[in-house]
């Protein structure tokens, strides 16, 4: 995508074919080709796939908008020093407190990475910030309410998700305290998306987070739609049959699908062939370890951090999900 570079560096000097022009031409081409494109989707399977794709995205949009608005409001209007004052001095105590504090950051995982980074740069102990990083996208009210809505017959699912996610994030915080090394972690030196005023910070953060997370939501919706239509129900049923194996299958699916935590409960609900414990693993692993999140962590905290932290989180999350699922579901 080097064309974007040239467009920005030469914008002041005359007209160039930049991304805006590309988008315009692309949209016009789509409009002209509409009949041909919709003709491609005559087959019932492709039509069903398109319907499922659109419905996942449409269903998730209001949640995503709510999430980014609230998280941007907190990022812009709550001073970061608040967190430093609110946390206990002792690190081993600060970890669970920070984990529980994840309740107040209603955002998806894309939002919690920069927030955790800025917490660290404002002097919060890394172990506590990491517990917050993992818990915030999973246990905030928006996510819990959408989980509750997505599983009308199983209100315990939201409870189990809260418990399992909190336990996992606290364990990971303590593990980092005990085994983590400072040289693995690159603490970000500056906040991102800081405007000239709180209002500007709010707007920039909300817009950015929406565009960023929305793109990944589209990937998740596409993948889910393709799986839904391409994979015969019998194959998934056979995978769903094995108790332990099915947990691993859905945990890995969560890593691959990269669905925002505000929307993933609806996808989990549609995977009705799988046991509730397997779907719990999907909901616990997804907001903590997925492809886009590992990439985000690698960028904000460094690759040496992400290559150790993400696999460890995956293992802990799967084990905790199995235990909590066996206990609560």
């Amino acid at each position: 995508m080097s064309s974007t570079d040239t467009s920005s560096s030469t914008k002041s000097g005359g007209w160039r074919f930049g991304p805006l022009e590309a988008l315009t031409v692309g949209l016009i081409a789509l409009l002209i080709g509409q009949r041909w494109i919709s003709g491609l989707f005559e087959s019932p399977a492709l039509q069903a796939g398109a319907t499922i794709f659109v419905s996942i995205v449409v269903q998730a949009m209001p949640f995503l908008v709510l999430g980014v608005v609230l998280s941007a409001a907190i990022a812009a209007f709550v001073p970061t020093s608040f967190w430093t004052r609110a946390l206990p001095k002792r690190e081993s105590l600060a970890v669970p407190v920070a984990g529980v504090a994840g309740v107040v950051l209603p955002g998806c995982e894309c939002a919690s990475v920069p927030v955790a980074g800025s917490l660290m740069s404002r002097g919060v102990a890394p172990a506590a910030a990491l517990a917050f990083l993992l818990s915030a996208p999973a246990i905030n009210p928006v996510v819990l309410v959408s989980t509750w809505v997505a599983f009308p017959g199983n209100p315990m699912m939201a409870v189990a998700r809260f418990v399992a996610s909190l336990i996992t994030s606290v364990i990971m915080g303590w593990l980092w305290m005990r085994f983590g090394r400072t040289e693995w972690l690159r603490i970000p030196s500056r906040d991102h998306l800081t405007g000239r005023s709180s209002w500007e910070t709010f707007r920039l953060t909300a817009t950015h987070d929406f565009l960023h997370a929305g793109g990944f939501l589209v990937i998740g919706g596409l993948t889910a739609a393709v799986l839904n239509v391409a994979v015969p129900p019998s194959v998934i049923d056979s995978l769903a049959g094995h108790a332990l194996f099915s947990v691993l299958v859905l945990a890995l699916l969560a890593v691959v699908l990269c669905i925002c935590s505000e929307a993933d409960a609806f996808v989990a609900a549609s995977l009705s062939q799988f046991s509730l414990t397997a779907r719990l693993a999907f909901l616990v692993v997804g907001p903590m370890v997925d492809i886009k999140l590992v990439a985000l962590q690698a960028g904000v905290f460094g690759r040496r951090f992400a290559s150790r932290f993400a696999p460890a989180t995956f293992v802990v999350a799967v084990i905790v999900s199995i235990v909590v699922g066996w206990w609560l579901l």
């Binding site: 995508m1 974007t4 920005s8 560096s9 914008k11 002041s12 991304p19 805006l20 988008l23 949209l27 789509l30 409009l31 509409q34 919709s38 019932p44 039509q47 398109a50 319907t51 499922i52 794709f53 659109v54 419905s55 996942i56 449409v58 269903q59 949009m61 209001p62 995503l64 908008v65 709510l66 894309c110 990475v113 920069p114 009308p152 970000p188 991102h192 998306l193 405007g195 500007e200 920039l204 817009t207 950015h208 929406f210 565009l211 929305g214 793109g215 990944f216 589209v218 839904n228 129900p233 609806f266 996808v267 549609s270 990439a295 985000l296 962590q297 690698a298 960028g299 904000v300 690759r303």
Partner: protein, 250 residues
């Protein structure tokens, strides 16, 4: 992604949400209760697009190159690309948001129908209340397919005896011959659609898939009971082709 493109994408996504939720189209994809939330989020996205556009115009008036505005330096985007620095643009993943907009406006995917229903086993949820209440008064009485199936399968048709029912559903061809009167149920969105199938007795031999029909008939025993995959029977007194209902799901 430049600020201009960001605003266009915000307009497109917000506009698409407003477009489908202003009419009944959104009910092909999600539940009816989502409408206010879709309208609000669509409006907020359009508003965000307006603000970005104002920024762009202001920056152009000042003679700045908007993309080099330090206020929009985007640290975590570099992370998403493994640290490669492609300049200070908005998140590149946002380009993907064009896809659902294109799908909504160009393909306009129809409500799920016989393809989905044919792939999945019929599902009859056991009523939570063991003491099934009687049907509302009237003959014929309009019932949902899921309600009819639950009464027939889990309550031995006790509350259906001696009543004339009216049900609206679409045709799903039965691979073993004949067809099922079908309706899909949503828990949240079309991704979790679950079919209810009912076997018509004494109706036409076959009908084209996805034809919407209104069936007036009576309960007859058959198709099995006490199983969440049973397909109950209905004796067809009359059948009429109808338009797809406003809300295609139950």
């Amino acid at each position: 992604m430049t600020r201009e493109v960001q605003s266009v994408i915000l307009f497109l996504v917000g506009g698409a949400l407003l477009r489908i939720s202003a009419g009944d189209v959104f009910m092909r994809y999600v539940k009816e209760s989502m409408r206010p939330w879709l309208l609000i989020s669509g409006a907020l996205l359009v508003l965000a697009g307006v603000f970005v556009l104002i920024d762009v115009v202001r920056a152009a008036r000042r003679g700045d190159v908007p993309d080099d505005d330090p206020a929009v330096v985007d640290v975590d985007e570099h992370a998403a690309e493994g640290g490669h620095d492609h300049g200070h643009h908005g998140p590149r993943s946002a380009w993907l948001l064009v896809l659902p907009v294109a799908a909504i406006f160009l393909i306009a995917p129809p409500a799920l129908g016989a393809f989905t229903a044919g792939r999945e086993a019929s599902s009859v949820a056991q009523p939570a209340d063991a003491d099934v209440p009687p049907l509302p008064p009237g003959n014929p009485v309009t019932v949902m397919l899921a309600d009819y199936a639950a009464r027939a399968v889990w309550d031995d048709g006790r509350t259906l005896k001696g009543r004339t029912v009216e049900m609206t559903g679409f045709v799903t061809p039965n691979p073993k011959g004949g067809w099922w009167l079908t309706r899909l149920q949503l828990a949240c969105c079309a991704a979790d659609a679950i079919p209810t199938k009912i076997h018509p007795v004494g109706g036409p031999e076959s009908l084209p898939a996805n034809t919407w029909v209104k069936v007036v008939g009576e309960w007859v025993p058959g198709g099995g009971t006490q199983s969440d995959t049973a397909i109950p029977w209905v004796k067809v007194d009359s059948l009429a082709k109808v338009e797809e209902p406003r809300n295609p799901y139950e």
